[in-house]
């Protein structure tokens, strides 16, 4: 069974110091909240520390909390240690006015497309990324579709008659 990383939190706390803002258990996974300017350093520590050894990047995705003023945008990393079978989640939040974050491609090549996808949908700029272009959407889309400000479909469309069934 998957272990939780609860007993590792004091160790992580000692390594990351003030960069670690919060650590809590969310269902079966320990979640760390890390300062956005220190996130790559934190990931590097989690990956390279011998006791922690979170060597596998499972997932990377963006998230948008428009009501969380000043810290609207977030990036969520999921790491996994195959040997001890512990998963961990790292979150970092920053302002949508300056959506910049260091790239994780230096640690895992797997982060390449996942960061491109996050850029594509949220407009988060990963500094140092070798090839930060849109990946799933068309190049001239002109917006970042997963931001909560953008509704699912253009509500001003007039070419469909929705009188009977609504939208």
């Amino acid at each position: 069974m998957t272990q939780t990383a609860t007993e590792l939190v004091p160790h992580i706390q000692s390594l990351l110091g003030n960069d670690l803002l919060d650590a809590y258990l969310s269902y079966d996974m320990t979640t760390l909240v890390v300062k956005s300017n220190a996130v790559i350093n934190a990931l590097k520590t989690l990956k390279e520390d011998e006791k922690l050894d979170f060597h596998f990047m499972t997932d990377l995705c963006g998230v948008h909390y428009p009501t969380n003023k000043g810290l609207e945008l977030g990036v969520v990393y999921h790491l996994h240690n195959f040997k001890t079978n512990i998963r961990i989640r790292i979150e970092t939040f920053f302002s949508e006015l300056d959506p910049r974050l260091e790239t994780a491609t230096t640690l895992w090549p797997a982060a390449n497309w996942m960061e491109r996808e996050t850029y594509d949908f949220y407009g988060i700029i990963f500094e140092g990324h070798p090839d930060l272009r849109r990946i799933l959407n068309m190049d001239d889309l002109g917006m970042f579709p997963m931001l909560k400000y953008n509704p699912l479909e253009d509500q001003t469309r007039t070419d469909k008659n929705d009188k009977m069934f609504g939208r």
Binding site: S26, N85, A110, L136, L152
Partner: protein
């Protein structure tokens, strides 16, 4: 064994006896080849812009997103039970795995314990879909090497698997199978009959298929050493599933993080050595036997009991009750109108999909729709290693590598 790139360097550096035609051309002699987006050999809609030197690939640049359908965005506007049909269309070769992975994610969020009968039925259906996924991949490798007959034999079996799905859910490809908490109806005697017939007939077909390919000298010469990747690179690139296991890493979500009572069963994780096309082929073939064993075990030990968890807040009551029973009507109304209380929280749940770890990262803010839903699609993550895997190989090997990675366009583009 030398990698294709090292071979080239060896050819260029070796003595003058080498046939000049085999020597590398200068860079200005390289030409661009557009493989895709709709090329019959790519088995899906993706484009690769290849820089070629003769028949050797110098670099590949994949372009994806041709069938992107914005599922993550749509999911933010739909109640939980309406997201199941979206998951069908991720890896459409094994949609029941996606459906049940999604149901289990929501069950984790809601804290629902499913009865054993549900778990075992899920195992049967998920392993059936794993078989159908693997047999498509393995037989298509055959097609790409020029052996068409194996494909035709096993596709008949896929039809039989789809007949079972049809009997259970009413659909064949995009199944929308099961509900949050269990199944919408119990497994029917006809489905059991079809499953029994399948369990008798399929092993013979699969043995015949393996006999055609596995020790076939032509097939081995064609696939051994094609598109290899080392275990270290595979881990760095986030490989999971059969493609990772072919490199020798025994990572399987079913064993590492058992879900749906997989820990009740004994099964092996087949692994390979070299991480090339042949090893991926063998790993998938061996997994089919393990899946068969799991289906047989789960079917033999299928417990009696309810086919869904007792959670009236989330599981739609039978229509009969809705019309005749006040409480059922209230629950029905609340579920359909999204009045049920969903806990706030973040949850990540992973299942072993046909291609690897299929993860669902779900953020709930207590509303009737997810606040954020992210699919961890194994294809999307490992397909980015494709340029590295094909660099320096022959064009025909690149096609083989693509089909042996089993990149499914629906999962790639979400």
């Amino acid at each position: 064994m030398a990698t294709p790139m090292e071979e080239i360097i060896e050819i260029t550096n070796s003595d003058k006896n080498v046939n000049p035609l085999e020597q590398l051309h200068k860079e200005e002699d390289h030409y661009t080849l557009n493989l895709g987006p709709t090329h019959p050999a790519t088995h899906g809609v993706f484009q690769n812009i290849l820089q070629m030197d003769g028949e050797r690939i110098m670099s590949a640049e994949p372009t994806i997103g041709y069938i992107h359908r914005a599922f993550e965005k749509i999911a933010e506007y739909r109640p939980y039970y309406q997201i199941t049909p979206l998951t069908d269309r991720l890896n459409y070769c094994s949609s029941p795995i996606n459906n049940m992975g999604w149901h289990m994610t929501v069950e984790k969020l809601l804290g629902i314990q499913t009865p054993k009968r549900v778990d075992y039925l899920r195992i049967i259906l998920m392993e059936l879909s794993r078989i159908s996924d693997h047999l498509i991949c393995s037989s298509v490798i055959g097609v790409d090497t020029g052996a068409y007959s194996g494909f035709l034999y096993v596709f008949q079996e896929r039809e039989h698997i789809y007949d079972i799905f049809e009997e259970i859910s009413g659909a064949r490809l995009t199944t929308n199978m099961g509900r949050i908490g269990g199944f919408e109806r119990d497994i029917t005697p006809r489905a059991i009959q079809k499953l029994k017939e399948f369990l008798v007939r399929f092993p013979k077909t699969w043995k015949e298929f393996e006999g055609l390919f596995q020790r076939n000298r032509i097939f081995m010469d064609r696939t051994i050493g094609a598109g290899p990747i080392s275990a270290e690179r595979a881990l760095a690139y986030g490989f999971t599933g059969p493609n990772l296991r072919a490199t020798g890493v025994d990572y399987d979500v079913r064993v590492m993080t058992p879900y749906s009572s997989y820990n009740d069963f004994e099964f092996e994780i087949p692994i390979g050595n070299n991480g090339d096309t042949y090893d991926r082929f063998l790993v998938r073939n061996a997994e089919v036997w393990e899946s068969l064993k799991l289906i047989q075990d789960a079917f033999d030990n299928l417990p009696e009991g309810p086919y869904h968890a007792d959670v009236p807040d989330f599981y739609l009551p039978p229509k009969e009750d809705v019309y005749n029973n006040m409480e059922a009507l209230i629950y029905h109304f609340k579920i359909v109108m999204g009045e049920t209380e969903i806990p706030k929280g973040e949850v990540y749940h992973a299942v072993e999909g046909g291609n690897g770890e299929l993860g669902f990262y779900l953020v709930s803010d207590g509303g009737r729709t997810p606040f954020r839903l992210h699919f961890r699609r194994p294809c999307f993550i490992y397909y980015q290693a494709y340029p590295e895997m094909t660099k320096g190989s022959l064009l025909s090997d690149a096609v083989l590598t693509l089909s042996s990675l089993n990149v499914i366009a629906g999962e790639l583009d979400a």
